[in-house]
């Protein structure tokens, strides 16, 4: 049994699950409604961008954690077979992440194809997929490192809350407390430490609204504005996938089921 087989099992299983269908339907409805209300692509992008940055991490980290906990028995059965642990691990992760990415793309891309696509919109899609993979990786890390399901789920929600809300609040506080100092570089560094912030700034820079960012925006424009900057942003997001995933892999290989 190879990795692709595990992946396929998981994919078919997940894609038919009710919560994932609901997620797709929700995204589809929201996107469709936005295109319906406003035919201005850039306006749709900016409204959708707010929702995607909020909803995608939440849904993925929670659904991911639930799925990995529920797959416990399935994994144990697989482990009785002559299958390598890393095969199971990658199959599980990729299967779940790919199915949620597909459901994300189905929900957001179909209405956009109907109304016309722009580069900005595709960029937003790419960011959405990257966030899916990142928060699946974090969910998997939580699941393998916490045996108790309730505790794990609670942690998942806390982590989402931290990245979405608390972190930016802390950044604001730091800026406020140290407003007498030049903070642009510090701010850039702080941005890199939060995948949602990286996504947000990388997208903001691509939009008209970047003109409002002033001097700080100019620094960000220098870093994230060019094609090389986009590559850098996705490189950073890739790091955010790799870090929790490798750690989870490490634990999973030694885990006593």
């Amino acid at each position: 049994m190879n990795r692709n087989k595990v992946l396929r099992f998981v994919l078919y299983d997940v894609i038919r699950s009710r919560s994932v269908i609901a997620y797709t339907f929700f995204l589809f409805l929201i996107t469709f409604a936005m295109f319906y209300v406003s035919h201005d692509q850039s306006k749709v992008v900016i409204s959708l961008f707010n929702i995607i940055l909020l909803v995608v991490p939440l849904v993925n980290i929670v659904l991911g954690a639930i799925h990995y906990y529920n797959s416990d028995k399935f994994i144990q059965v697989l482990l009785t077979q002559p299958v390598k642990r890393s095969t199971i691990f990658w199959g599980e992760y990729l299967g779940f992440s790919i199915s949620l990415s597909l459901s994300f793309l189905a929900g957001t891309l179909l209405p956009a194809i109907f109304y016309g696509l722009s580069m900005q919109y595709l960029y937003l899609m790419l960011i959405g997929v990257a966030l899916t993979f990142i928060f699946e990786a974090i969910a998997l890390y939580i699941a393998v490192s916490n045996a108790d399901k309730a505790r794990g789920l609670w942690k998942a929600i806390l982590i989402w809350f931290y990245f979405s809300v608390v972190y930016d609040g802390l950044v604001m506080l730091v800026l406020f407390l140290f407003s007498d100092y030049p903070l642009q570089k510090t701010l850039l560094f702080l941005t890199v430490l939060n995948p949602i912030d990286i996504s947000r700034t990388a997208l903001l820079i691509k939009m008209d609204i970047s003109a409002l960012l002033g001097a700080t925006g100019a620094v960000y424009q220098m870093v994230f504005g060019s094609t090389a900057g986009s590559v850098l942003a996705f490189g950073l997001l890739l790091c955010w996938i790799a870090a929790p995933l490798l750690r989870a892999h490490h634990i999973f290989r030694r885990k006593d089921f």
Binding site: L175, L187, A211, L212, L213
Partner: protein, 434 residues
């Protein structure tokens, strides 16, 4: 004339007079210059005419004569007009400055130039080269000319009662150093500028020490600095103009008694752009204008006794940015819709009043149904204040925490630190008359 379809009429001048007391004088004089049509001879210039060059025809003309110039290309250095004549082009003859000099130089009263294409003045660091340069003259008019590739289009110095009407200016300015204004007035009085289409200059229209003048129905777009630029120019008005996609829309500085009515400020978008910039202004009125898609709709600095009424602010970054030392400004009956920030108030010590505006962010209620919200609206949001304190925080724009702050402010108004408030916010947007 593209978007400037509202053509100039004599009646317009009278209408302006009703709005602006200083315009009345202007209007009266304007009517006078149009009625005054001296009977004189008609001379012809052109390849098959008695006078081969325009200069020769001018030399032969007397005061009050008309010179009709036939179609063709004329290259004869700077054409100097030193007597009161009518210079009329038939089918837009081209006068070419060959990138060496100003094209027409006017130094006489009652000169009328009509229907030419003036091209290629070139640029110079020593003199101000222009399509039509007017020095110390009065009662002149310049109509229906095309200015192509001129450094300054129409340059008026020390002149009075001149009309610049329905011309087309298309410059090719690359940078501020080597370019001039499309319509450039210095030390002038009672001039009337209407129906012009100006692009590709440093400033579309530039006024310095110009008084009692009217700018109306012009379309100033894609200029590299301002669409319209006022310096030290009192008692002027600009009405129903469109300023679009300039580096910045309009700058009004160090002046008083300016009327700004019914203009469109569109698409002045960029890191350091604004629709309208006011600096050291006293007693001006800003009414019935549309500010759409500007980084900053109006930026005010040292602006006193300004009445901002009946304007529409839509899709701007900041609708209104009040920078410092603003006193006794009233902001009433405006629509604020879909701006990232409604009002940014910097510097403090300002005294300005908001009343009866429509704010799309307002979420109060109206129990007695009189169309006025029962709870005051605070246009300076908490995030806006944070951004004032530490500008770096602007990168959190559109983040979830900022939305939470905004929601919290709606529920608990005490959250907002700024004391600026609109005590009678409207429940529905106003119909803006322009």
């Amino acid at each position: 004339m593209g978007r400037c379809s509202k053509l100039y009429k004599v009646g317009d001048a009278a209408a302006v007079g009703l709005i602006n007391p200083y315009g009345l004088l202007c209007a009266a004089l304007l009517s006078f210059t149009i009625i005054f049509q001296a009977a004189g001879r008609t001379l012809y210039a052109g390849a098959n005419s008695r006078y081969k060059t325009i200069s020769a025809a001018i030399a032969a003309a007397n005061t009050g004569d008309t010179i009709q110039v036939r179609q063709g290309i004329y290259k004869e250095g700077t054409i100097e007009i030193d007597k009161s004549i009518y210079l009329e082009g038939i089918n837009f003859p081209i006068i070419d400055g060959e990138a060496k000099q100003s094209i027409i130089l006017v130094q006489a009263n009652h000169v009328h130039i009509h229907g030419f294409t003036l091209s290629n003045s070139g640029t110079s660091n020593l003199d101000d080269r222009a399509g039509i340069k007017v020095l110390k003259s009065a009662d002149c008019s310049f109509e229906k000319c095309n200015f192509r590739n001129t450094c300054f289009g129409c340059f008026l110095f020390n002149s009075r009662h001149c009309n610049i009407i329905n011309n087309n200016f298309s410059g090719s300015a690359m940078n501020e150093m080597n370019s001039g204004g499309g319509i450039h007035l210095l030390h002038c009085d009672s001039c009337f500028i209407s129906g012009n289409n100006i692009s590709g200059h440093r400033d579309g229209i530039y006024f310095e020490f110009v008084t009692h003048s009217i700018i109306r129905n012009n379309f100033s777009h894609n200029n590299i600095r301002y669409g319209l630029h006022f310096m030290f120019s009192d008692n002027d008005s600009y009405i129903q103009n469109i300023f679009e996609s300039n580096s910045s829309g309009v700058a009004v500085m160090y002046t008083k008694h300016i009327i700004m009515h019914g203009n469109d400020f569109l698409n002045n978008w960029g890191a350091a752009s604004y629709g309208l910039y006011l600096r050291e202004i006293t007693e001006c009125s800003i009414t019935g204008n549309t500010f759409k898609k500007n980084t900053v709709g109006i930026e005010m600095e040292g602006t006193n006794k300004a009445a901002v009424t009946g304007n529409s602010f839509k899709d701007n970054g900041w609708a209104l940015k009040i920078v410092s030392d603003c006193d006794a400004d009233t902001i009433t009956g405006n629509n604020f819709e879909n701006n990232s920030f409604d009002v940014g108030a910097y510097g403090g010590n300002g005294h300005y009043y908001f009343n009866k505006n429509y704010w799309d962010d307002y979420s109060g209620y109206d129990l007695n149904g009189d169309g006025i919200g029962d709870v005051p609206f605070q246009p300076v949001s908490l995030f806006s204040v944070i951004v004032q304190e530490c500008p770096d925080a602007i990168v959190l724009l559109k983040s979830f925490i900022v939305q939470i702050l905004n929601t919290a402010e709606n529920m608990i108004p005490a959250f907002t630190p700024s004391m600026d408030r609109d005590n009678a916010p409207l429940m529905k947007p106003l119909t803006i008359k322009t």
